[in-house]
């Protein structure tokens, strides 16, 4: 090709490309939320002298132009494809795929975070629970079964669990790791599947001296479930299906919860309105709630459970109901441990601390 012609074509192609993308950047309407990443997107920052002088405006503007870039989700998928197929990367954005699952690389043990969680748990024990039977169990992240087996860096879970159990010496540790396999977790999400963890609930209850019944009906949610990793991974992802278990005890349960204003309101075990929102997993006990009380009117004996938990606890809590007259589910990420006495009756209750490795290893949110 004639050198001048080639130069003209090159200049024309890139001038048109740059200008077209620029016009699109300016013309496309801004969006407030990314469904795939489950986060708020940066908005056009307000211009103030203070922001301009400090350089804060430029930082916020850069976040804005990146977040609001046209066809960003499609470009993120292209990036994932390039990282794997051209650059030969095995992981992308800190996530990997194995056995049909997407999972997060998280091999490092963060001992200061474990110490923080232990300090909070021991505070609760020493303040409220010295007369109770207190149990502790850890839900391993799905990397426990996926990472090492597929050649990805894996946390030393045995060491993690041993260390954590030693840090809360007044609680009886119940091991559930051997009951969990890859199929017990959602493919695109960090959480476990309620329909596959009845054996976990049974073991935990048995250690607390309670027998559970298993007369469940399996129900399937009719919305696709794109878990938390689906959007972060940004590749072609097959959605999961959420199933949830019901029986007479669960159906008749009376559920109440403290809302974000501290008011006690009626709630439900399965919130089907939440199932239609951005994170369908929040259908279990309505997601992020500080204190939820589940009462079992069918109970023949008065026996109560207080379950300290993270989001994994939302789906397992209903499975304990056949063994208890009342379950109080507490999430100390949303309530200060110092205020618990006003909201929770610990008298004579079994107490179970059930937390995932991922939260214990990143526990600053526990208050």
């Amino acid at each position: 090709m004639n050198n001048r012609l080639k130069s003209i074509i090159t200049v024309a192609v890139f001038a048109v490309f740059l200008l077209s993308v620029s016009v699109l950047c300016l013309a496309m309407p801004d969006t407030t939320h990314s469904d795939s990443e489950r986060r708020e997107l940066a908005q056009l920052p307000k211009v103030t002298t203070q922001k301009l002088v400090s350089g804060e405006f430029s930082k916020e503007f850069e976040s804005y132009t990146t977040d609001q870039f046209p066809f960003r989700d499609a470009l993120r998928s292209i990036k994932t494809l390039l990282a794997h197929k051209v650059l030969g990367k095995l992981d992308n954005n800190g996530l990997f795929t194995a056995d049909g699952h997407i999972s997060k690389l998280d091999a490092a043990i963060n001992e200061p975070m474990m110490d923080h969680a232990a300090e909070r748990f021991n505070y609760i024990y020493n303040t409220y629970l010295t007369d109770n039977n207190v149990y502790f169990s850890i839900v391993p992240d799905k990397n426990y079964v996926l990472a090492k087996a597929n050649g990805f860096p894996a946390m030393n879970y045995e060491s993690f669990i041993d260390k954590m159990a030693q840090k809360v010496p007044n609680m009886k540790y119940i091991d559930i790791c051997d009951l969990l396999s890859a199929t017990d977790y959602y493919n695109t999400d960090t959480h476990w599947r309620q329909e596959n963890i009845t054996d976990v609930a049974t073991r935990l209850a048995r250690h607390m001296g309670v027998n559970l019944t298993h007369d469940y009906t399996e129900n399937t949610l009719d919305v696709p479930f794109y878990g938390v990793y689906a959007g972060q991974y940004a590749g072609g992802v097959v959605p999961d299906t959420i199933k949830y278990l019901t029986n007479d005890t669960i159906n008749n349960a009376k559920v109440s919860a403290y809302n974000d204003k501290g008011m006690l309101v009626e709630s439900s075990i399965y919130n089907l309105e939440k199932a239609k929102e951005k994170d369908p997993y929040e259908m279990f006990l309505s997601g992020t709630m500080a204190v939820v009380t589940i009462e079992n009117p069918n109970a023949t004996l008065k026996r109560e459970l207080v379950l300290f938990r993270d989001s994994y606890g939302s789906s397992i809590a209903p499975l304990f109901l056949s063994g208890y007259s009342k379950i109080t589910v507490v999430d100390t990420r949303y309530i200060q441990s110092e205020y618990l006495k006003a909201f929770v009756d610990f008298d004579g209750a079994d107490v179970l601390f059930l937390y995932s490795t991922s939260l214990l290893n990143n526990s600053l949110a526990i208050r």
């Binding site: 890139f14 001038a15 200008l19 993120r76 050649g151």
Partner: protein
């Protein structure tokens, strides 16, 4: 503002191109100056005044040096100009370091200064110094138009990460330069290649370096993998920035000199420094080494000259002892090469290359540390210091994870891709298709870079300590 950002690519650059090419010739420098000041002020609003002050100061002293009647007066003006210009660099970059070390040595407590380092100050300070010295030497006339001088100093393509453009190399183009589709096309190609080197290769290699810093599963193998990836990351990042600067310069009608010429194919460390950050090496050669007598002196003086140059070269890269050690590391090997190793290295190309690559890799481990202690620890890790195992599960994983990229980077750091391109271009049968493929590939690189940037992928700026 970084070249590798959505803001630069799709907001700043199109606007600048429109303004620049729409402006009549007499106003092109004004446009370049204004957009360059905006570019600098975008991330460092306060520091723009320091740069403007330095420009005005050197503008005045440039004219005074030229107009001085006697050599002694010229020398006095030059001395004031150099001291004045360097004092900004010394204060902002090195004052904290000096105070910290003074406290450590004497035990006398002094408050930590915590002075923010203005981005690019080392680059533009050296550009200004070259201007004043060249005027003093009578190699160029003093610039009477302050807009022209300010445009030279603040020109945004090379402002924050070089290359260090000498005034005499662009003096004529600052006044009169031509624009053509041919040079714009070359500039676009160079810019996009540099952008790809930075975003697709260097940034991705940087992720491995981040994983190395975070790991609890360390091993000798992981240290070596990190050393190779860090060395390649620095090369692709820095040479990518230079490519982008040279490419942008071409679009605006400037010819900046090359800054990197396949440094990893060198057969000695001396040759490496003739191919690596050429603008800095030649700056020290012309403004420090030669004025001290260069190599045409007795051996003890030669060794002293080399020591000074390499001490300063190391210290220029950052106010930390590991950078000084890095410079002195090259001082030792370049002195050995000058005195003893030249002939042995010429005997076997393969051994010479192994020797060069081995010590380059070691040198970048010193460079990568945050301080001297960390530098020693990193170099020690390469040889199993601290009883670390030979391999680890994470090292093996990361080798598989980054293996393809490392191979791409190694091949990309050699002249092979360029030679294949030239070969195919020279053949009649393939020339046309190569031209078409070139445009398509460049477009694909730009789209890929955009995809990486839109994803918010790891995108570090490595020159904040320079």
């Amino acid at each position: 503002m970084l070249f590798s950002s959505i803001t630069f690519l799709y907001y700043f650059l199109p606007l600048v191109l429109i303004l620049y090419f729409a402006a009549p010739k007499p106003l092109k420098n004004v446009v370049l100056l204004l957009v360059s000041l905006f570019f600098y002020a975008w991330g460092e609003p306060k520091c723009v005044f320091l740069m403007l002050g330095t420009i005005i100061f050197n503008y005045v002293f440039g004219i005074l040096i030229e107009k001085a009647k006697t050599q002694q007066a010229k020398k006095i003006y030059l001395t004031i100009s150099v001291i004045g210009t360097l004092s900004g660099l010394l204060y902002f970059k090195y004052a904290g370091f000096f105070v910290e070390n003074f406290t450590a040595i004497t035990g006398i407590s002094a408050p930590a200064l915590n002075i923010a380092l203005p981005i690019g100050i080392s680059f533009y300070t050296f550009q200004i110094l070259s201007y004043s010295v060249d005027v003093y030497r009578g190699e160029v006339p003093a610039q009477k138009n302050i807009i022209t001088l300010a445009t030279y100093i603040s020109l945004f393509p090379q402002l924050i990460a070089g290359p260090i453009v000498r005034y005499k190399d662009v003096a004529a183009q600052l006044v009169k330069r031509s624009h053509s589709f041919e040079s714009a096309s070359i500039g676009i190609r160079r810019f996009i290649v540099g952008l790809g080197k930075k975003v697709l290769i260097a940034n991705t290699l940087g992720e491995l370096c981040q994983a190395f810093y975070a790991t609890q599963d360390t091993s000798v193998m992981f240290y070596w993998l990190f050393a190779v990836c860090f060395t390649l990351q620095i090369y692709f990042d820095f040479s990518g920035y230079s490519d982008m600067a040279i490419g942008l310069g071409k679009i605006f009608g400037f010819d900046f000199l090359e800054n990197f010429r396949y440094p990893f194919i060198s057969k000695s460390l001396s040759e490496f420094w003739r191919r690596w950050h050429i603008s800095l090496g030649s700056w020290f050669r012309d403004y420090v080494y030669f004025p001290m007598g260069g190599s045409r002196v007795k051996k003890p003086k030669l060794i002293f000259n080399l020591f000074v140059v390499w001490f300063l070269t190391g210290f220029w890269h950052g106010a930390e002892w590991n950078f000084v050690l890095w410079g002195l590391f090259f001082f030792v090997f370049l002195t050995l090469e000058k005195l003893f190793l030249t002939k042995p290295l010429e005997k076997s190309k393969i051994l010479a290359r192994i020797y060069t690559l081995f010590f380059i890799t070691i040198s970048f481990m010193i460079f990568s540390g945050n301080n001297a202690q960390e530098a020693f620890s990193l170099v020690g890790g390469l040889f199993g210091a601290g009883g670390i195992p030979l391999t680890s599960a994470e090292a093996l994983y990361q080798l598989r994870n980054y293996g393809v990229l490392v191979i791409i980077a190694i091949v990309g750091a050699t002249p092979l891709p360029s030679k294949i391109y030239q070969y195919l271009k020279s053949k009649k049968a393939t020339s046309f298709f190569v031209d078409i493929a070139e445009i398509i590939i460049l477009l694909l690189i730009l789209i890929s870079v955009t995809a990486f940037l839109a994803d918010g992928s790891f995108n570090p700026f490595l020159y904040f300590r320079f």
